[in-house]
Amino acid sequence: MINVKGLKKSYGKNEVLTGIDMDIAQGEVVVIIGPSGSGKSTFLRCLNLLEQPTAGEIHFENELITARKHDIDNTRKKMGMVFQHFNLFPHKTVLQNLTIAPIKVKKMNTNAANKIAEDLLHTVGLADKSKAYPSQLSGGQKQRIAIARALAMQPHVMLFDEPTSALDPEMVGEVLEVMQKLAHEGMTMVIVTHEMNFAREVGDRIIFMDAGQIVEQGTPEKVFGAPSHPRTQDFLSKVL
């Protein structure tokens, strides 16, 4: 579904990604772990071109999205993204946060968009908040809304950029629960996270990144149970 070849990204002289190859299959849940500054967020943000890669190719559903003439807005419709800091639109109600993209981008009519939005709010357990403004919500609620907002576009893949890192500990659970539900429904997901237990539980494949490279990857059992690379072992010994 997503095929990445030789992906590089530098900021000036600082090379953050030094050449990444990765294939993600339909329905797969890929969890990327690694120390801070290892380039995992940058990699994720390259997938929908929020960061412009310096070199390399990315194919999404057999389309070369890194091509010069490619209409990235069209691709982003099919790739939902959830941010560490939620980035809800503060001047819109919860319902409007969910419906603005379907209405403005997909030209969906308001009733249809509202219907989808209300169903999603129900799914994330916040049906009663549709008229609230983001500033009236807790962090966990905000992130569940942000997930619902991305889902409202009915994407083919969901990208999660440290979705629980900015949350108070007691709110992490409710967000992970929503994500777990999503994984069980067969959504293709790429997740950057520090929640190792969660990674082990929902991940089909764990990728350990360090210094802009993929150091090791495999099933959760293999990466967590028997890491082969010393840097993986070192990292896991510190976080587990």
């Binding site: 807005d73 790739m79 939902g80 941010f83 001047h91 603005i100």
Partner: protein, 495 residues
């Protein structure tokens, strides 16, 4: 979106109210032959404003002459009241057909315009404070004195000839009176009949016995250079008037009308009449002020509305990825912020007329100037607002597939506007005050009306204080209203 909508709703409702209320100057454009006379209506008895049967009218001997000229030509007469030193540019740019404003044909003026035959010769006098008349008896005694004159006038040239004189040129005759009364100048050079009228209404001032040598100043009508056809017609009319001694009669009648003698009062009675206090002036001339308020609010509302739209566009260009756009926007902003609004106003009103033959009405010129001037300030305000919106907002919107334009329109700009609303409101308040400069080209705004009341009442200060109070009330109410709107808008920020 909601912010945008309610803001525009606010702007438009303000606009509509004033569109209905404001007496548009550009109304009723008739098709018949028309001749436009420019004059500075603060020069009694030649031209001045007078409240006649509750209506503000421009009257005086020059107006009578203008009426004759127009009648002989079979044209409809239209009068434009313009500051004296803006008359020549107005004629030059073709906004007016002729100047009849007690203007003396000097060589300097002849370089730019053509003059008719002389229609009246007036004398010049020196006015001073009543107690100083003994001090100033000869021209020599004026050496080194501070002297008030009307800017760009023949009196200014006379005063320049006085050795060591410190000139203090001002726009309005009432300003000269104010300068005298406040001891800022020692004496003033004035047209004889003008001085007569002023002194009659200012008992603390008097005309000295000084004889100014070679001070007989002829008055003539100015037309655009080379307009011999019009000049011929004017000279024909003037010849008839002079043959019948009618000009002298016009001046006498006008002097009486101005001094109140035509109402049967003697000069003594006028001198003894108690001066109206500020409240009485306000009440008597409330119609003037009310009209001025309408124009001022209309101008400001239009200025802010267009300034808002233009400013938003300029700020987007300023933030554009394309360097040509960025450069253009920056130049636009810097030039407009770096030059005085009065200069911009004069360039738009006279310069554009001369260079491109586009004649905006005074109201249009006023609105254009206020709009582009405030757009430069608003552009920078918007830029700060847009840049102040968290980057994550753009990323979130773009990641949902929204285009750059849609992201700006639906996500960034509404938040930016909300955050800069206090600054925008501030700009509105500033515009209300600064709009007063349009009186310079003759827009009948509050400042203009205050000037008119000054020259009618001979009260130099009170009409200005009334105007100041009105400006204050308007801006104060506006800031309060904006405060309410702001609080409404911030409802979504409540925790």
């Amino acid at each position: 979106m909601k912010v945008c909508k309610s803001l525009f709703a606010l702007c438009f409702s303000v606009l509509i109210v004033f569109l209905v209320v404001a007496p548009m100057a550009s109304a009723a454009q008739d098709t018949g032959k028309k001749i436009v006379v420019g004059l500075s209506a603060d020069f009694a008895p030649y031209e001045f404003r007078k409240n006649i049967n509750g209506k503000d009218e421009i009257v005086g001997s020059d107006i009578e002459i203008a009426k004759r000229v127009a009648a002989d030509m079979g044209a409809e007469l239209q009068i434009q009241d313009i500051a004296f030193d803006s008359l020549l540019p107005a004629l030059d740019s073709g906004r007016i057909d002729m100047i009849i404003s007690g203007m003396t044909p000097t060589d300097e003026r002849r370089q730019n315009v053509d003059f008719s035959d002389t229609y009246y010769i007036s004398r010049q006098v020196i006015v001073t404070r009543a107690e100083d008349t003994t001090k100033f008896k000869t021209m020599e005694s004026l050496k080194g004195a501070a002297i008030g004159v009307q800017r760009g006038s023949i009196q200014q040239d006379i005063a320049k000839g006085i050795e060591g004189a410190k000139l203090s040129p001002v726009d309005k005759v009432s300003d000269i009176m104010l300068q005298l009364e406040s001891n800022r100048v020692d004496a003033a050079v004035m047209e004889g009949p003008v001085a007569d009228g002023q002194v009659l209404n200012h008992p603390d001032l008097a005309i000295t016995d000084i004889q100014i040598p070679d001070s007989d100043t002829p008055m003539a009508i100015a037309v655009q250079k080379g307009n011999t056809e019009l000049l011929g017609q004017i000279n024909k009319t003037l010849a008839t008037l002079k043959a019948n001694n009618e000009v002298d009669k016009f001046v006498n009648d006008a002097f009486k009308l101005n001094s109140g003698e035509s109402t049967g009062e003697t000069a003594e009675q006028i001198k003894d009449k108690p001066k109206p206090n500020i409240f009485q002036i306000f009440w008597d001339y409330r119609n003037y002020y009310w009209q001025g308020i309408q124009y001022t609010l209309f101008l400001s509302a239009m200025g802010v509305l267009f300034g808002f739209i233009i400013g938003l566009i300029v700020s987007l260009l300023r933030l554009s990825q394309i360097s040509v756009f960025r450069w253009l926007a920056m130049t636009y902003i810097e030039i407009l912020r770096g030059t005085p609004m009065l200069v911009q106003l004069l360039i738009i009103h006279y310069g554009i007329a001369q260079a491109f033959n586009i004649n905006f009405t005074v109201l249009e010129s006023g609105i254009i100037t206020l709009s582009i001037n405030s757009s430069a300030y608003l552009a920078e305000i918007f830029r700060a607002g847009i840049q102040g919106v968290d980057r994550g907002q753009t990323e979130a919107a773009r990641s949902l597939g929204m285009s750059y334009g849609a992201t700006m329109r639906h996500i960034i700009i509404p938040q930016a506007i909300k955050s800069v609303l206090p600054a925008i409101g501030n700009e509105f308040v500033v515009i209300i005050k600064e709009s007063s400069i349009v009186s310079f080209i003759g827009v009948a705004d509050l400042m203009f009306q205050a000037q008119a009341v000054r020259s009618i009442t001979y009260s130099a200060l009170s009409p200005l204080i009334i105007a100041a109070a009105i400006y204050f009330v308007m801006t104060f109410i506006l800031s309060k209203l904006l405060g309410i709107v702001e609080r409404r808008l911030s409802a979504s920020d409540q925790r």
